[in-house]
């Protein structure tokens, strides 16, 4: 089919096709993303000391760029994407290896590569590429076949290889999130529940052993999480200050640009990891819940796309992307509210940072492509 299909894809009535696809794009969702980016602009404007520089203006520019990327991605045929999934995955792993060898060190970990003006964090990109590869693998598998343990060996490796590479950076938080994203796709693909129970059991046994091998700063994060007051001036300081900021924000907040915690720099990394605290301090519970609600709508949309899609590849892709986006939000907000250990995870669309913005918008581009091509014909499942 490939050659014929390709020619048709490339030549037949291209202009009309593009227009029809553009018509298919759910513009209300695009509007939702714009609203979230606007929230980010407001927060970064405040984090910049009441000025568009140095954060907010760049944020807007990056979002505009991401928007173009997302919309162009939406027009790419989902089958074409499925075909390049493996290649993309391999490239992602190669980047992870590269970052270990040549990457820049930030806070004791090798995490990003400089590409011209852009800093790329391959681990962020990898989560999306992993979802792509898993979806491509499971898309052809029947219910019986998914039940076969041998069939699960390769996808398990697909998850473990990037996890291991990210752990080596070392970035425990992102490695765990990568694992959870992979698990979500496994789950949606119909992997039997007892297998998950088995893995969870193993993890529970392995955790104390793994703890022994953690870096000091990672251990500090876990211990200060368990008892933040134990070291109020050290690692626990961030969490306490974040909680004071949230608490003092109250129901209605202190008002735009009037957050004392943020503006007197009690709040660390307020433009990245703790941007949500900044929002919650200045706009209160009302503002925080509004932002959380908007983010939840975006996650919900992913499931909507998944349920309306008529091919397994698209469904799994949508669920994987939705889970990835959700985990970003959950880990970040849980972190700033002192619910889980601190780990440099940004709040997508709102935090300052080019790499996260790029990968988030790339993910949504794939999601929109699933939506636009939800009725595309894939080959049947095989046993």
């Amino acid at each position: 089919m490939s050659e014929v299909f390709e020619r048709r894809l490339l030549t037949r009535d291209r202009g009309g096709r593009v227009l029809r696809k553009l018509w298919q794009i759910p513009w209300s969702f695009v509007l939702l993303l714009c609203a979230l980016a606007a929230v980010g602009y407001v927060a970064l404007y405040s984090a910049g000391g009441g000025a568009p520089e140095p954060y907010a203006a760049k944020h807007a520019l990056r979002f505009a760029f991401g928007l173009v990327l997302m919309l162009s991605m939406a027009l790419v045929d989902i089958r074409l994407i499925a075909r390049f999934a493996w290649l993309a995955y391999a490239a992602g792993v190669a980047l992870l290896v590269l970052v270990l060898v040549h990457g820049n060190v930030g806070k004791g970990a090798q995490r990003w590569i400089d590409i011209g003006p852009l800093q790329l964090q391959p681990s962020e990109l990898m989560k999306i590429l992993l979802v792509l590869a898993l979806a491509a693998w499971f898309q052809r598998a029947s219910w019986e076949r998914v039940g076969n343990p041998l069939f699960l060996v390769l996808p398990t490796l697909l998850v473990l290889v990037p996890m291991g590479l990210i752990l080596k950076q070392p970035n425990l938080g992102t490695a765990l999130i990568t694992g959870m994203v992979g698990a979500a796709v496994f789950f949606a693909a119909g992997v039997r529940l007892w297998k998950f129970a088995l893995i969870l059991g193993t993890a529970a046994v392995a955790a104390p052993i793994a703890y022994e091998h953690l870096h000091d700063y990672q251990r500090a994060r876990i211990t200060t999480f368990l008892d933040p007051e134990s070291d109020p001036l050290g690692a626990g300081y961030n969490i306490i200050q974040s909680k004071i900021a949230l608490g003092s924000g109250g129901v209605w907040g202190k008002g735009f640009l009037h957050g004392t915690q943020g503006h007197l720099n009690f709040l660390p990394e307020k433009q990245t990891d703790f941007i949500f605290t900044m929002l919650a301090e200045e706009f209160g519970l009302v503002g925080a819940l509004t932002v959380l609600g908007l983010l939840m709508l975006a996650v919900g949309f992913c499931y909507l796309v998944a349920l309306r899609c008529r091919h397994q590849f698209g469904r799994l892709l949508a669920v994987g992307l939705g889970t990835n986006f959700f985990l970003y939000i959950f880990v970040n907000v849980a972190m700033v509210t002192g619910s889980i250990p601190v780990g440099g995870v940004p709040l997508p669309l709102i935090s300052h940072g080019g790499s996260a913005m790029l990968t988030t918008m790339l993910g949504f581009g794939l999601l929109l492509s699933v939506f636009v091509h939800r009725d595309a014909e894939f080959g049947p499942a095989r046993d």
């Binding site: 949606a188 119909g190 004392t260 007197l264 499931y303 669920v319 509210t337 049947p380």
Partner: protein, 625 residues
């Protein structure tokens, strides 16, 4: 058929599980919501209540800036109390009206008012802005009496930088000034009123160390700004003291001895510690405290004697004859000459149709390296340069610290230049043999600083890659060892070095040496040195033939006078360089200054070898009669 059933089964499983995932994630969202509710409404109730009437105010506590001490522990940069008036914008209804009332009590200029209003706009309304610093007792009394009419104005005491030695150490210690926009590196400390950052010298190089870290208090404050209680306190870290190797008394004595356009560097030859580094003229760093006037700044920057520039590190000169040791060593190392090789000096050397003159028009006759150094014969070194070639000379110069970055702790220090063939070719010009010859006597494209010359003298004296430095200790902890063994050997045979040192000994101590009048009084031991003078303007053949005399030139065209030295000769402790701009003759203008600087150094540092009687004539190692 089975395909369709299969697809339906897969789909139903997926739908079920996707809904489970969605439900799980929605529940976690709910958890986050409840967590926020608990923090912001239930558990944070006291904060919520405070938000109604009171507020939590966070204030930074500035740490005292570390001091700069000289090698004897004397303070050369310290802190003084500074009474000042601050304005807290949120405590007044009308900033303009408050300032107007204020200026009726203590006059403010229009520029000051504009600056205050700009800062009020730029900062948070609860951050105090400095209105006027350095208040006198009388002004403070008047402000206090009128306090009810001055809402938002408060008086507090800060500290200001004070330099007891004023202009004597300005080039080394540097100065501080209020931070500019580009200094804002995210340190919240820099937002405080009255804070200063290092702008030059040690103050700039060690700014982070001296600055310390801000502490902070979180205060519960009521609506009028009165503190109700302290909620949390985070202690700051006071800035650490930095001790420098300079002897303030020595520095002062040397500076008082020298005139405009002169720079003197004295190093501990073994450790590389800078003992004195004087450059005339200088400036008073205390004037930067209150922010200097545009007029003062213009005066300094337009002054042709450049008081703001440290000539010892940023003045660039050709080394002249003080460079001849380098050429000699390069020739010995390249084996193009042996120590005993003699060159006949008829008073000139011809190369093609160009004639290069020796300073001694009558010629020196037959000379070996030792004699050539002693008499500073130009022809000998023309010949050696021709044999060695410029690139090997440049490499040797770099090993002795010339034209390289010595990493002294003074920001903006010049690296200088030692030309090479490649350097000239990069400019698109060829390198001619004539260029090599001229560069053999230290003239030409060289750009060398007095600090580099002193370093060269120290390295000649010790044979080690001594690195000049200023920092002795930070916060009481020594930073670098003070022993010669801390520095790697230069890799030059001791035999070669000894020969060159002998030449330098002869310059000062032997009949006919060029700097015989500069030798040390007997009780201080023996000094070895080398004179130099460099042309600022080329003297044409025509002028030469008309019996030209440099004394008849306008001052700014006269040659610079240079001198490098180390002492004592048999056990070098100190190295020294002197550059006198337009001083004409190294032997007359620079040599005596080096002698006096070394005498002063011996006297003050009390490490002069206490040897009785004159050792000048029969100094050990003073070889041939």
């Amino acid at each position: 058929m089975s395909v369709r059933r299969e697809e339906e089964r897969r789909r139903s499983v997926f739908t079920r599980r996707a809904l489970m995932l969605a439900a799980g994630q929605a529940a976690l969202f709910g958890f986050l919501g409840s967590r926020l509710y608990r923090l912001q409404v239930v558990e944070g109730e006291r904060y919520a209540m405070l938000a109604e009437e009171n507020r939590i105010s966070a204030r930074l506590i500035p740490p005292p800036r570390g001091r700069v001490l000289d090698r004897n522990g004397a303070v050369v940069a310290g802190n003084q109390l500074n009474w000042r008036a601050l304005l807290v914008a949120e405590q007044t209804q009308d900033v303009g009206a408050t300032l107007e009332t204020f200026s009726r009590i203590v006059p403010l200029t229009e520029q000051e008012v504009a600056r205050i209003e700009r800062e009020v706009r730029r900062r948070r309304r609860f951050v105090p802005v400095s209105v006027r610093e350095f208040l006198s007792w009388e002004e403070m009394a008047r402000i206090e009496v009128n306090a009810p009419d001055l809402p938002g104005i408060l008086i507090d005491v800060g500290t200001t930088r004070h330099y007891p030695e004023a202009e004597h150490l300005a080039h080394i210690v540097g100065y501080v000034a209020p931070p500019a926009e580009r200094d804002m590196d995210g340190d919240p400390l820099l937002e405080l009123p009255g804070i200063r950052v290092g702008r030059a010298g040690i103050e700039k190089h060690h700014d982070q160390v001296l600055r310390g870290r801000a502490g902070a208090v979180q205060l519960e404050v009521n609506a009028v700004g009165r503190v109700i209680r302290e909620l949390d306190r985070r202690e700051g870290v006071p800035g650490q003291d930095v001790q420098i190797s300079v002897d303030a008394g020595l520095q002062k004595a040397i500076r008082e001895r020298i005139e405009e356009g002169t720079s003197v560097v004295v190093l501990d030859a073994r450790s590389g510690e800078v003992l004195a580094m004087a450059s005339q003229p200088s400036f008073d760093p205390n004037l930067f405290n209150a922010g200097i006037s545009a007029q003062q700044w213009r005066e300094w920057t337009r002054n042709r004697a450049t008081p703001l520039i440290n000539k010892a590190t940023n003045g660039l000169y050709a080394p002249g004859s003080t460079f001849k040791m380098i050429v000699g060593l390069a020739a010995l190392e390249a084996r193009v000459a042996t120590p005993g090789d003699r060159v006949f000096c008829p008073g000139y050397m011809d190369l093609g149709d160009t004639r290069f003159h020796c300073w001694q028009r009558r010629g020196h006759g037959n000379l070996d390296l030792r004699g050539a150094l002693k008499h500073s014969c130009d022809v000998y070194f023309y010949e050696m340069a021709k044999r060695v070639g410029i690139d090997r000379i440049a490499a040797m110069a770099n090993r002795f610290g010339l034209g390289v970055d010595l990493e002294i702790e003074l920001p903006g220090t010049k690296r200088g230049l030692v030309p090479t063939r490649a350097w000239r070719q990069a400019q698109g010009k060829p390198w001619n043999l004539g260029d090599t010859v001229v560069h053999g006597i230290g003239q030409g494209f060289y750009q060398i600083t007095p600090l580099q010359l002193a370093t060269m003298a120290a390295r000649l004296a010790t044979g080690r890659a001594v690195q000049p430095h200023l920092t002795r200790s930070i916060g009481g902890r020594p930073v670098r060892g003070g022993r010669a063994e801390d520095w790697p050997l230069l890799g030059i045979p001791e035999r070669d070095l000894r020969l060159v040192r002998e030449g330098m000994w002869a310059v000062v101590n032997e009949e006919g040496g060029t700097a015989r009048s500069s030798r040390l009084p007997a009780q201080f031991g023996v000094m070895a040195g080398k004179t130099g003078s460099v042309q600022v303007r080329r003297v044409s053949r025509e002028q030469r033939e008309r019996g030209f005399r440099v004394e008849s030139m306008p001052r700014e065209w006269r040659p610079h006078a240079l001198f490098v030295a180390f002492a004592p000769y048999d056990n070098p402790l100190y190295a020294c360089s002197v550059v006198v701009e337009h001083g004409m003759s190294g032997a007359i203008a620079a040599g005596p200054l080096a002698r006096d600087a070394l005498i002063e150094t011996f006297t003050r540092l009390r490490t002069a070898p206490a040897l009785p009687g004159s050792r000048m004539a029969e100094a050990p190692g003073a070889p041939r009669p």
